[in-house]
């Protein structure tokens, strides 16, 4: 099953490009011209995203480097451990929505310290894989189209993250317990 998914994901991109180009060619679309026409927008999108991404990364960088994040971690350690999240992975749970590279660093540390096949290693892997970097995704997706008011999307995203972590703890205890 896993091999099949793996195989599929290796084939996916070349196959999709092939199918789209063949279909377009049959319909007499000028494939080369249209492709370059569309691709030219790529840089404009990147330029548009930059300020939003910068704003987000800067705030997170200040919050982490100042030690403010550690204070929040200490405050939240107790309530989160009551919810059943082991204390080793609590920093991961809190940094996961903020920083993709930051959380990947923590997972790497945990895996090196406890081993990839330990309970903590498996749980950290599951947590890292099961949600995305909420603030990054929001900055990039909404930044690209100039959305300034994200309404309740961030809150819903964070609730989803929390649910993902609790689900990860639950399923890992059940499967690897």
């Amino acid at each position: 099953m896993i091999n099949l998914i793996n195989y599929f994901s290796q084939w996916a991109i070349p196959l999709i490009i092939l199918l789209i180009l063949i279909a377009a060619f049959i319909k007499k679309v000028k494939v080369y011209e249209v492709f370059t026409d569309g691709a030219v927008e790529g840089i404009a999108v990147g330029v548009k995203i930059l300020p939003y991404l910068l704003a987000m990364l800067m705030a997170i960088a200040i919050f982490r480097a100042s030690g403010a994040l550690d204070i929040v971690l200490n405050q939240l350690a107790k309530p989160l451990s009551i919810l059943g999240i082991p204390k080793e992975v609590i920093p991961l749970a809190l940094i996961r929505p903020l920083s993709g590279t930051g959380s990947l660093g923590i997972v790497t540390d945990l895996i090196n310290q406890y081993g990839p096949d330990s309970f903590i290693g498996r749980l950290a892997s599951t947590m890292q894989g099961s949600t995305e970097t909420t603030f990054y995704v929001a900055a990039v997706y909404f930044g690209a189209i100039g959305i300034k008011n994200s309404r309740h999307a961030i809150l819903a995203g964070l609730l989803a993250d929390l649910a993902g972590f609790l689900a990860a703890v639950f399923i890992c205890r059940l499967v690897f317990g």
Binding site: F8, G46, A61, S66, S130, A156, G157, A167
Partner: protein, 196 residues
């Protein structure tokens, strides 16, 4: 909401840095974050251009109509206000497929394309539409069958069974996505009642 979060994080960060005597670290981190943001954007521009080009070809060939039609049953539930067979639905479907397969580098450009098309329906406002919020939450909660980065990390760390976490990951990501979608729908209802 972001206005407040952003402001609070910076102010609290700098005050605590002053108390902790970590101003130098903060100063370095600020400039590093500026460099990092450019690096991320530079890395994104290539795949972005690639997929915008491919999607344009798909649109011209009217393939996006076919995709939008395939996506219709699920789209009706998740994005009720998006007109059926709208090209945004095709991009959303492509983005979700790329996410499923763990192709993050392709999922992001396709997601941005979808957001652009949703923004056309939103008549260019600076406030996110309901559909945008739903789509964002689906992406922030991650929908994947193949967590590629973490698999690579586990293989690198010499795991005896690097793939054993796929089942647990799919379960956790499914829970987080469902909770995200439901929370989003409830929050939309509440803000609708308040007339926001």
């Amino acid at each position: 909401m972001l206005n407040k979060i952003w402001f609070t994080m910076i102010i609290i960060g700098i005050i605590i840095a002053a108390i902790n005597g970590r101003m130098e670290e903060v100063s370095i981190a600020i400039l590093e974050s500026a460099e990092d943001s450019v690096m991320i954007v530079v890395k994104l521009i290539g795949p972005m251009a690639l997929w915008l080009g491919i999607m344009k070809v798909a649109e011209e060939a009217r393939l996006t109509d076919v995709l939008a039609k395939l996506f219709k049953p699920l789209a009706k539930i998740l994005f009720p206000e998006v007109p059926k067979n709208h090209p945004a639905l095709a991009s959303i479907m492509m983005n979700l497929s790329a996410n499923f397969l763990g192709l993050g580098n392709s999922a992001t450009p396709l997601g941005i394309k979808a957001m652009q098309q949703l923004q056309e329906l939103n008549s260019g406002k600076s406030s996110a539409s309901d559909a945008m919020c739903t789509f964002l939450v689906i992406n922030t909660s991650s929908v994947t069958l193949l967590p590629t980065t973490i698999l690579a990390l586990r293989i690198g760390a010499g795991s005896a069974q690097p793939t054993e976490i796929i089942g647990t990951t799919v379960f956790a990501t499914f829970c987080s996505t469902v909770v995200g979608i439901v929370a989003n729908k409830i929050l939309i209802k509440i803000s609708g009642l308040r007339g926001v």
